[in-house]
């Protein structure tokens, strides 16, 4: 058939024909017995439409067909679809809707095929909405608008049922929600406004109710378990039927209701559940003081978990609270309080009993290990908890412990480990590990310089009295200290260790010198350790009157030393020397290992049988303190080399002493210890003095570079500069500033007394 031959189709006629096709389609969709469209049927319908659209005006029926297209949908929806939906509810409504939507899409698909010509040509020319949009708009305006609220409520009701544990048809819900999405034709507006908003509100209300019930009945761990479950399930829900965009909003709502709102209540939870039941029972059974005592203890949720070492619960708590904004701060704060309390308790224990004081450092190390593990494991290495741990330790590590600072205790602890006989039970690795931990602990102590000074004093004794257990360990700890506190911290100590090495060399040279100069030989084996003044702590050198034999030794060494270096001055510190004496006692001859002071005292008895206290003091030229100490060690302690008259337990200036020729011991060789003077006061004085210099130097350094600076800034920079070694006291800084003003290093600004100027 050619174009010319084509018969004009009349609108009425044409539409009647088309209508038949549409009816056929409707029947198929309704499930009525209707044969499928054949290719011929399809062609006929398509061609009819084609013709009706390509006819010459006034028989060009494109617009009318377009309108009729929409009318078909409207008619179908109004007459068939809506009635079928209106009388249904709940799940039945949903099912029907899904069915009708599917049908609609099918109808749309078929009809667009028939009316394809319209779609391709007419619509483009007139900029009209395409046919599928027409269809969908009909559905939306007629069906969706009327029913979406009802549908939404049905969906939400099912969701709530599922939350309560019932089984629901998830696929159905997915299909329904897909409608909400698809009806937006690319926009999520309908889904969000008509479904999601209400769904979220309902969710919030639901969980709010649950939360208020659970918080009353459940213990903190139980609650948290439930919370975690709920979140998991909601997430699951999204993956099965909600749109993925709902996930973050949904989870946030749930978290908010279950956790944020209740966060404080959770943290402050009174009693864990089992404890509460016990308390109730006790209260019920016994009306006595006992119940009150139990009740007087105050617990709180997080505290209780920390106290009871419930690591799993703590991990769970961390996981849950880390999702809430600001959820971790209160937790870390309770953690800090807890650790501080534990540390402070250790301090108190140490104050109460001397035996506890000895183990204080070890216990602090254990405490640190324990809670560092918590930070790493339960709190997933979170910086907030690292900070909490650090701050907690800084609080109690800087408290005094029964008259000693923690700096001193730490130094003593190191000394014990590094001494001979101190830690023989421990393996090398264990020692290394302990030293590592000690150095870490030092980071929390603000008086690091005090630690350094005590450490140095004790190092002196270890090195000079040959009490050091292991050279490698000594060097190892210095390396660790250097890494943590900088080279300046350890430079003197390293110098000390080096001095010892040089001393050995020097001694070898000395012995060579002696063998080359036999006249010089003093007749006594002499070992001299030359110390570099700057490295070693300062010792007062008293002019001890040496026994004649020793005087020669000193002279010989001096001569030797002159051959090596001309420009150095030797100062003899007899208080640090040791001496091996042969004591010819009646029972047997014995070797006595004593200090030089003790030896000098004993040798006096070679020329006198009996000496008074004052005679000894005069002859030795020492102070009362020293004389009392050394005489005590020789006459009132374990080994009574001298007999004291009267034989009281303490030395008094009126005592008299005699050589005890009957002295003996089962050993051939004994060491008579001279307990060291308490260095504490001296150390603190020295450190205070050094601090004054350090503050002065720091202030001058800062002012020299800044020229003009405000007081507060000067103080804060000073504190920062010195912070590595100690925490300077504001008052001390002020005092030094005043001193520097008097010494004309600084002046106040004329106009602003809070500003200082550097005076070149």
């Amino acid at each position: 058939m050619t174009m010319n031959e084509r018969k004009t189709i009349d609108l009425e006629q044409g539409w009647e024909f088309l209508q038949k096709g549409i009816t056929k389609l409707k029947n198929i969709l309704e499930g009525l017995p209707e044969p499928q469209f054949s290719t011929e049927d399809y062609m006929m319908l398509y061609t009819t439409i084609y013709n009706m659209c390509t006819q010459k005006p006034p028989h060009d029926y494109s617009q009318q067909l377009y309108d009729k297209y929409r009318e078909s949908f409207e008619e179908y929806i109004t007459s068939t679809v809506l009635p079928s939906l209106r009388d249904k509810h709940d799940e039945f409504l949903l099912r029907e809707l899904v069915k009708r939507w599917a049908n609609h899409k099918e109808m749309d698909r078929w009809l667009s095929r028939f009316f394809r010509y319209l779609d391709c040509y007419f619509i483009a020319r007139r900029s009209l909405p395409p046919l599928n949009e027409v269809g969908l708009t009909c559905f939306r305006e007629l069906v969706y608008q009327e029913l979406n609220a009802k549908v939404r409520d049905a969906v939400i009701s099912l969701i709530d049922q599922e939350r309560e544990g019932e089984q629901i048809d998830r696929a159905l819900l997915k299909n329904v929600l897909d409608i909400f999405v698809e009806i937006g034709m690319g926009q999520m507006d309908y889904y969000e406004n008509d479904f999601e908003v209400t769904m979220l509100k309902d969710t919030a209300a639901y969980y709010s109710r649950k939360a208020s019930n659970w918080i009353l009945d459940d213990s903190c761990p139980e609650y948290m378990l439930k919370a975690e479950e709920c979140l998991k399930r909601e997430k699951d829900r999204v993956s099965h039927y909600l749109h993925s965009s709902s996930e973050p909003k949904l989870l946030e709502k749930v978290q908010h209701e279950l956790l944020s709102v209740c966060a404080n209540q959770l943290l402050e939870k009174e009693h864990s559940s089992s404890e509460r039941k016990l308390l109730e029972k006790v209260q019920h059974e016994l009306l006595s003081v006992c119940a009150n005592q139990l009740l007087e203890k105050e617990h709180s949720g997080c505290h209780a978990l920390l106290r009871d070492d419930k690591v799993d619960d703590l991990s769970r708590m961390f996981r849950l609270f880390s999702k809430i904004p600001g959820g971790l701060e209160p937790m870390s704060s309770i953690f800090k309080q807890h650790v501080t309390a534990e540390g402070t308790a250790l301090v108190k224990q140490a104050e109460d009993a001397a035996s506890n004081k000895k183990v204080f450092v070890r216990k602090v190390i254990e405490l640190h290990d324990k809670y560092l593990a918590y930070v790493n494991d339960c709190f997933q290495n979170h910086s907030l908890f690292h900070k909490a741990l650090m701050e907690a330790f800084e609080v109690f590590c800087n408290k005094g412990v029964a008259g000693s600072t923690s700096a001193e205790l730490l130094a003593t602890f190191c000394d014990n480990i590094l001494q001979k006989g101190g830690s023989e039970k421990l393996s090398d690795e264990a020692i290394e590990e302990t030293l590592e931990k000690v150095v870490k602990l030092l980071a929390y102590i603000s008086d690091k310089d005090l630690f350094a000074e005590f450490y140095r004093k004790k190092l002196t004794r270890r090195l000079l009295f040959d009490k050091s257990a292991n050279d490698d360990h000594e060097r190892s700890i210095l390396t660790k200290l250097k890494q943590q506190c900088g080279g300046q911290f350890t430079s003197k100590m390293e110098g000390m260790v080096t001095d010892l090495t040089s001393a050995r060399e020097n001694q070898a040279n000395f012995e060579e010198y002696l063998s080359n100069n036999p006249n010089a030989n003093p007749g006594i084996d002499l070992t001299v350790t030359v110390l570099t003044t700057g490295f070693w702590p300062s010792y007062k050198s008293f002019d001890l009157n040496l026994p004649a034999e020793m005087v020669k030794c000193v002279e010989v060494f001096r001569d030797f030393y002159q051959t090596k270096t001309k420009h150095r001055k030797l100062t003899w510190i007899y208080s640090l020397g040791t001496c091996n004496l042969i004591g010819k006692f009646e029972p047997k001859t014995m070797e006595l290992i004593v200090t030089t002071y003790q030896a000098s005292a004993l040798l006096l008895f070679n020329s006198s049988d009996r000496l008074s206290y004052s005679e000894i003091m005069t002859q030795l030229n020492l102070t009362d303190d020293d004389v009392v100490r050394l005489l005590h060690s020789l006459s009132c302690a374990n080994y009574k080399i001298l007999n004291k008259e009267p034989s009281t337990k303490t030395i008094s200036p009126t005592d008299h002493f005699e050589f005890n020729s009957n002295f003996t011991d089962k050993m051939r060789r004994i060491k008579i210890p001279l307990p060291p003077v308490d260095e504490k006061k001296r150390v603190i004085e020295d450190v205070d003095k050094d601090r004054r210099y350090a503050i002065d130097a720091s202030i001058v350094r800062i002012m020299k570079s800044r020229k003009v600076l405000g007081h507060q800034q000067l103080v804060s920079e000073c504190v920062e500069q010195l912070g590595r070694m100690f925490k300077p006291d504001f008052k001390a800084i002020k005092k030094r500033i005043e001193d520097l003003i008097t010494r004309d290093y600084l002046e106040r600004d004329k106009d602003n007394p809070n500003i200082f100027r550097y005076l070149a």
Partner: protein, 210 residues
């Protein structure tokens, strides 16, 4: 001609004026020393009708820029009396009473206050003044104006043992303290500022008392 006449008249007037001043000076000076010594000052005070310990004498010394406590040199005397515009005892008497007003000017007062301290430094290279003297000085110089502060500060200075002497910086800040800090509540005192430590301690002591 005229000029010369004028000149001679002026110089005559000058020498005449100076003569009077010098005469006055000589009447109090210790001829051996060539300057007015403590005895002379005492005599001057009695003639002026002012007590030796009166603050006006100190102010007078300040006006003279006298360097050494208890002594006035010829130059100081001449310069001072010229500044005051007086050349007789009666005029001087009047001027001295006016002096208190002059010193009251804030800019003058600060200068006077520092001067009072320096006037107490008797030894060469001395930089501080002992507590006793400071207390007396405070009473003379500051008490009239800031009685409650001075009374309590003096009490504190006598009781404390941290400081045996006071330096110029601390002294100057005593005045600033009286001027700036509300008393006796001490509300606006901030120890984190650059106040000398002795004042921090004073404030602490006061707060403990209350």
């Amino acid at each position: 001609m005229l000029f010369l006449f004028f000149f001679s008249v002026a110089s005559k007037a000058k020498t005449k004026g100076m003569d009077k001043v010098d005469c006055l000076f000589n009447s109090y000076a210790n001829s051996a020393l060539g300057m007015i010594d403590p005895d002379g000052i005492e005599a001057l005070c009695s003639d002026l009708g002012v007590d030796y310990t009166d603050v006006r004498i100190l102010i007078f010394a300040w006006k003279l820029k006298a360097e050494k406590q208890g002594y006035f040199t010829m130059v100081e005397w001449q310069t001072g009396l010229k500044a005051l515009g007086v050349d007789s005892l009666s005029k001087l008497k009047k001027a001295v009473t006016e002096l208190e007003k002059e010193v009251g000017e804030p800019s003058n007062y600060d200068d006077f206050f520092s001067y009072a301290f320096r006037y107490c430094l008797t030894e060469e290279k001395q930089k501080s003044v002992d507590i006793e003297s400071i207390c007396e000085l405070l009473n003379v110089v500051l008490r009239a104006q800031f009685r409650p502060q001075v009374d309590l500060l003096v009490e504190y200075l006598k009781v404390q043992s941290d400081y045996k002497v006071i330096n110029l910086d601390q002294w100057v800040n005593f005045l600033r303290f009286c001027k700036e800090i509300t008393f006796p509540d001490l509300e606006n005192y901030d120890a984190t500022q650059a106040w000398p430590l002795i004042l921090d301690n004073f404030v602490e002591w006061m707060r403990e008392k209350q």
